[in-house]
Symmetry: C2
């Protein structure tokens, strides 16, 4: 084993896992490093934030996935840098892990466009902790409104603002509006949760810009039916604990969620190569880092162009395709076969849900919207979950909500001072 070609993969997201999966049986040993012990199914993370799913339904311990692959070693660790000359990954613990081939699949996080001070009041949604933080703040806002005597403050507590109208922003806004207007009204005695405002702010001209205009227009109408106020064409200019400034007008709002902007992980910096404005590593057409061919960058942290000149989107299927591609390259090199051609991205479609009954799907030529799209969306997501247990558990949670209308994971956990209250 010890003499085998050593592939070190950093990041257990969609790209990293696909790579490890596709290297099964190749003449390599693999070390997979992640700073989390779990793989996260990010497309459903917004459902944890909105009390629909439990954390363990969309996350799996990485090392458990490879229990039957003795050539795969999983390490919990945080990368601090890479020594390309010595071919070693340096971890925060001080340890160095030597590689023959390195694959960086370290993903991206949200960006505040130079306003990192907004992070404390407008959390983004990338990790399980982010999701439970948002869940706690949304639920606490209703609780605090119930005991608030000052009407202005009560209105601010019942105003929820989501910044950014990509799929995540639309999905969060839809579910929070449904909670306020349909799930919660019977449970409060002093406030009418149906009076809660959910505001979705988008700097660009329309919501869901990655979708065809007709689907975007449909989503806008559906959000309107759910009671979401959509404000397009105006950027957010300030976020504070009291509210949000949209263009020139200040909206008192105690709960803000950030669903705009992407900042890649520092993979380019570690490798000492160029990055684009969002920090994504500029790799060549074979997803290699310029310099020599022993380091690859895949997924949200790589800047890759499609044939039409558009960037490959930062979505799970793109990361998986890149992981599969690099696995083919590594396999070809080690077995002396001809190298595959340049990486080509095949766009399989875009999906987004609006509330609990409607969705839009853009397959390019085929476009779907409404209830059928929602069912396809649901079945696709259950299919892509890992393992029988999770598929059953998520299907059960959804079925339960569908039948009863009641969310199952409405827990306020972790300690955080109740804002503005003792």
């Amino acid at each position: 084993m010890q003499e085998r070609h050593h592939v070190v993969v950093v990041g257990g997201g969609f790209g990293g896992l696909q790579l490890v999966h596709d290297l099964k049986g190749a003449p390599v040993r693999i070390t997979l490093i992640d700073r989390r012990n779990h793989h996260l199914f990010q497309p459903l993370l917004y459902q944890v934030a909105t009390t629909i799913l439990a954390t363990s339904e969309i996350a799996w311990p990485i090392r458990h996935l490879y229990r039957d692959r003795p050539e795969v070693t999983t390490l919990l660790g945080e990368v601090q840098g890479i020594d390309r000359a010595a071919k070693a990954v340096r971890l925060a613990s001080g340890r160095a892990v030597h590689y023959d081939t390195l694959v960086l699949a370290t993903g991206a996080t949200h960006a505040y466009f130079g306003h990192d001070e907004w992070a404390a009041v407008a959390p983004g949604l990338k990790t399980l902790e982010d999701a439970t933080t948002i869940r706690r703040r949304v639920l606490l806002a209703f609780e605090q409104a119930e005991v608030e005597e000052d009407p202005a403050r009560r209105d601010a507590l019942l105003t929820f603002t989501i910044v950014g109208a990509g799929p995540t922003g639309v999905e969060l806004a839809g579910i929070i509006a449904e909670m306020a207007h349909r799930t919660l009204p019977d449970e409060f005695r002093r406030i009418d949760t149906r009076r809660a405002r959910v505001i979705l702010v988008e700097a660009g001209p329309r919501i869901l810009p990655a979708f065809a205009e007709e689907l975007s227009a449909y989503a806008l109408r559906e959000l309107g039916k759910l009671g979401v106020e959509v404000r397009t064409g105006t950027p957010v200019t300030d976020c504070t604990a009291e509210g949000v400034r949209i263009g020139d007008s200040f909206v008192p709002s105690c709960t803000l969620v950030w669903a705009a902007g992407v900042q890649a992980s520092p993979a380019a910096q570690w490798l000492g190569i160029e990055a684009d404005r969002a920090g994504r590593a500029l790799v060549d057409q074979g997803l290699s880092a310029p310099g020599n061919g022993d380091a690859f960058v895949i997924g949200d942290t790589a800047a890759v162009k499609q044939e039409n000149g558009m960037p490959v989107p930062g979505i799970a299927p793109a990361a998986k395709q890149q992981g599969a591609y690099v696995a083919r390259v590594i396999r070809a090199r080690l077995t002396g076969q001809p190298a595959p051609g340049p990486f080509r991205y095949r766009h399989q479609g875009s999906l987004a849900t609006i509330g609990k009954r409607a969705a839009i799907i853009d397959f390019g030529r085929i476009k779907l919207k409404g209830g059928l799209a929602w069912w396809i969306w649901g079945l696709a997501h259950i299919y892509f979950l890992i393992g029988t247990r999770s598929r059953f558990a998520v299907a059960w949670s959804w079925l339960w909500i569908y039948l009863s209308g009641q969310h199952s994971a409405r827990l306020i956990t972790q300690k955080e001072t109740m804002r503005g209250d003792g």
Copy 2:
């Protein structure tokens, strides 16, 4: 509504919920105050700590339980004191809630016998956060052992010490030993998790002292089969980040869990009445606080004697019986019926599990142990869960573990510096 007799209940545990349930239809309005938004099914909390169940499977938002009871108002708030003359509960937010009848059902927490500094290294198990803290520490210990080069430190990381051998301590020790010896071995490459040590320390002469001696002896044998080292008759004299001192000998152990000692909530202090050594309020035979009859104390925070002179145990069925009793007293007073006699506790039995296949049940005359007891234990707990959704979800999680041997909630969440590591 506003003129109705106002019952204020503090605490949404088993006692408080039973009281509210049994006051249905009585000529009262009810305000239920808790500092958490959820009721917690504490008997299964150890399963969250040991990666078997998800938090949302054993906790429910309190206000959701009373959505169909318009006379019940739920408040999220922390009690700071009680003004008996003014008949008002003072909350941390500064607000005062007036009552006609007050019921304190505020429970208990773990006690470190004057060594509160042990709390940081030896967390107890009372809240959902406690459970995720213990889960994180247990899982991180294995992760860190996998990357540790120093053999002595690696052994300390693979030594888990549970202090206190009541049902919770026995249940935690059994499941952690099963994880180490059966669930995890295939997933690690550098350590053999079967070499992990699980030590259960009990100051008293035997484990599970509330059970008959033969059941206690059976549990001891079963723990031995699972590889748990039991040390009875020796108190823990120190807890540090490096390990635990048991009597005079120091055992290097990086993960400690505290399952000993009980400290009641400050209900007695709030009421200005006497308490026993564990802080439990000394109430009269009708569960009233001495002074006047408008304040009751029930559950783990009340000191009540059985007819045989033994104290009523701090378990869920006792709290529920007291909640039901006080509901009868309130109802009788308001409808002019004769008051019920003094509270009488009916012990229905004691249950504990050892690992995933064995349990003991002590009904007094009937004693059960082994697989049949385990099934009765499981069915009883599913029966007592709230709501169809949770019953299905827990049954599914257990069935999955029973069939696959794999735990489903092995997530390290929340931020805590990896101990002794970068």
